[in-house]
């Protein structure tokens, strides 16, 4: 057993830190805080030039041939200084599905641009009445010769207004229900009939609601076979767990320790000498360590080709929410000042975490969905949701 970080990570991390110092500018970070787009085209192209968008693909496909640990270290270094990585991260979910199941022509048309950092793909799964039940898809696709006509609406399509394509889940068999009769498309966002409305979130992120009115898409842009959308989505959903850098719980913990070290307490020492702060931090250290270890296990098992359960995806966000609230109590009113205020503690990081964390137990599989998966797949308990 060896818990040392793999030695080869030092190189890639140093390289990513130097890259971030050069390419993640103060203006970029501020623009991201202001817009919440999750996208910087210049950063994306710079990452593409290094093969770091499709980082785990081989160099001949425009990737860098990184393993899951190296990818996590590389992305972690860019995120640590505030570089927006939602765009490439989300794009890779659908890109991996296209690579696995798309036609040769579609792969040749789309994937080089993705790897080069020229092409952004947003996700069109969730609908206003769908939520966690992604297969409650009502957006319709109807075949018309060499084209399909799409009508419907999608909710929470983050960076739709910056994307080149949407990886869109539609229902092509009107008689079908649930996971059957679905067809996936790669819809160019400039197609007539697409209307995007901004949805602002509490967590400084902008997302969108996207309307599709008689949107005509060439059959060439279908991903996978008609009515086999479930198969295609599985390929993309399996990749979603892939992104496992250090947990946000441990990033928050590091910030909390830094605050305690630098903040004077009324006795003339620092808050790190205060008994209640110490116990809180100790508890937080434990959850942060466990969240990181479960994340490392995901990367370790993936490297072996084994399937890790959703442990890290459940424990990480759950503890992130809990501790973002505890830290607020500990830091007090100064912690509620936001990033635009010059008096904000550590650039408003605790305010930012408190706002953002609460969404982390929702997207990428809500905690309830993940617990049900664990209960069914690992404990052999009966399915709690009605069969469709």
């Amino acid at each position: 057993m060896d818990f040392h970080e793999p030695s080869h990570l030092k190189g890639i991390r140093a390289e990513a830190e130097a890259f971030a110092a050069e390419h993640v500018t103060a203006e970029m970070v501020e623009e991201e805080l202001r817009t919440g787009d999750g996208v910087s085209r210049s950063l994306l192209r710079a990452m593409g030039a290094k093969g770091w968008v499709a980082s785990m693909w081989p160099p001949e496909e425009g990737g860098a041939g990184l393993d899951p640990f190296e990818t996590a270290a590389m992305l972690g270094a860019i995120r640590a200084v505030g570089g927006p990585t939602v765009g490439p991260g989300t794009t890779m979910l659908s890109a991996n599905a296209i690579r696995a199941l798309g036609s040769p022509a579609l792969r040749a048309r789309i994937l080089p641009g993705v790897a080069a950092g020229e092409t952004l793909i947003c996700l069109g799964y969730t609908e206003p009445e769908g939520g966690s039940d992604v297969f409650a898809c009502k957006t319709r696709s109807v075949r018309d010769g060499d084209e399909w006509v799409i009508n419907g609406q999608k909710m929470f399509t983050t960076f739709a207004h910056r994307a080149d394509y949407c990886f869109l889940l539609t229902r092509s068999d009107p008689e079908s229900r649930g996971p059957h009769g679905l067809t996936m498309f790669l819809v160019p966002m400039g197609t007539p009939g697409i209307e995007i409305q901004a949805v602002r979130t509490m967590g400084y992120e902008r997302t969108n609601i996207v309307f599709y009115n008689d949107v005509r898409v060439s059959d060439d842009l279908r991903v996978g076979e008609p009515e086999q959308g479930l198969h295609v989505m599985r390929a993309a959903l399996e990749a979603e767990q892939n992104v496992a850098p250090s947990s946000r719980t441990s990033q928050l913990y590091e910030a909390a320790v830094a605050w305690a070290r630098q903040t004077p307490d009324p006795d003339g020492a620092t808050m790190l000498d205060d008994p209640s702060v110490r116990r809180r931090l100790a508890r937080m250290a434990i959850d942060a360590e466990v969240a990181d270890l479960l994340g490392y296990r995901v990367a370790f098992l993936e490297q072996l080709g084994a399937k890790p359960g959703p442990h890290a995806a459940l424990f990480g966000p759950e503890t992130y929410v809990r501790w973002s609230k505890e830290v607020m109590d500990m830091v007090g009113p100064a912690g509620t000042a936001d990033w635009t205020d010059p008096d904000a503690v550590l650039g408003g990081t605790f305010e930012y975490h408190f706002r953002c964390s609460v969404a982390s137990t929702i997207y990428g599989g809500s905690s309830e969905v993940l617990r049900s998966l664990i209960a069914e797949q690992l404990l052999g308990l009966p399915r709690s949701r009605p069969k469709s």
């Binding site: 008994p275 250290a285 466990v290 442990h311 424990f315 404990l379 709690s384």
Partner: protein, 350 residues
Amino acid sequence: MNLALTEEQEFVRRTFATLFAKEADPARVRAAEPLGHDPGLWAHMIATGALGVGVPEDAGGGGGGVLELALIAEEAGRRVAPVPVAEPAAAARLLAACGATKLLSDALDGTRIVSLATRPGPVASQFLTDGGIADVVVALEGDRIVAVNRPPDVRPTSNMGGLPLARWSGAVEVEVLVDGDEARRWFSAAMDEVRILRAAALVGLAGEAIEIGAAYARQREAFGVPIGTYQAVAHPLADALVAKDGAQLLTWKACWALGEDLPGASALASMAFVFAAETAYAAAQHSLHIHGGYGFTVECDIQLYYRRAKAWVTAFADPERELDAVADRAYGQSRTHRRSAQPHAVPGTS
């Protein structure tokens, strides 16, 4: 980074999983209550060399590390086996470090049961975890590691955890094993090993408590469906499973850090103890709860787990206080709020 056990470690795990499944079934566990010791099982443990697994080969042991002992402790915990593992195994390693060869060989061949005094304060003031059965306890007194012989007329304490607890009032016969600088350091290291091995036992206990609960939730029906269908029953079991896997990783990391002599090892040992304690209690409590009234009856195995999930923790330390040890070890001692030093909380500060 390698989170896999070696073939030898898998062998250790399998061997003791088989032993405890056979020799520590629930009937044997009940039969050993309330004193909490099964001499037949103990003899098996001695015969397999379990206690010496962590002792260097040249001192008559198996040459393994704390991880190998943790695997044994986890399997013992899984069956709530009525034999002490953590303190005697850590005591054996401490005796080897001290060069107490006679006492060590007696401990390894079963001539005498040697355990540790892990609570703060003099031996005579403590509830000794293995006091009901031990012939000798090794303790830290000031700057000396001493071996204390069992006094006559020890009265075992009838207790909820099936532990061989007892007080040794009037214990006077003392042999000094180490006197000097190493004493505190070595004893502190032994305490860290106890933390880790107790954590490992609690991980095993949690795993089986979850399994007992899941098995019941699969077959027991209420309102026409198995109760595991209900998320209020199933979801806390899922949380418990995640926490149990996390506690196991944390315990293994502490074993590794101790073996590598890393500066964070002591903090990790304390963290593993606290997290495993909370995990085991939550798992056993929910598992008992979903049995309904049956879980409350003595016939139900889950109550054996529920009581030990708490007693195995309490016997060593209050987890809330142990958080202070985590903080001291991770950040150094507080400059404004000093506590009275506890033998098991010092001096592993970094």
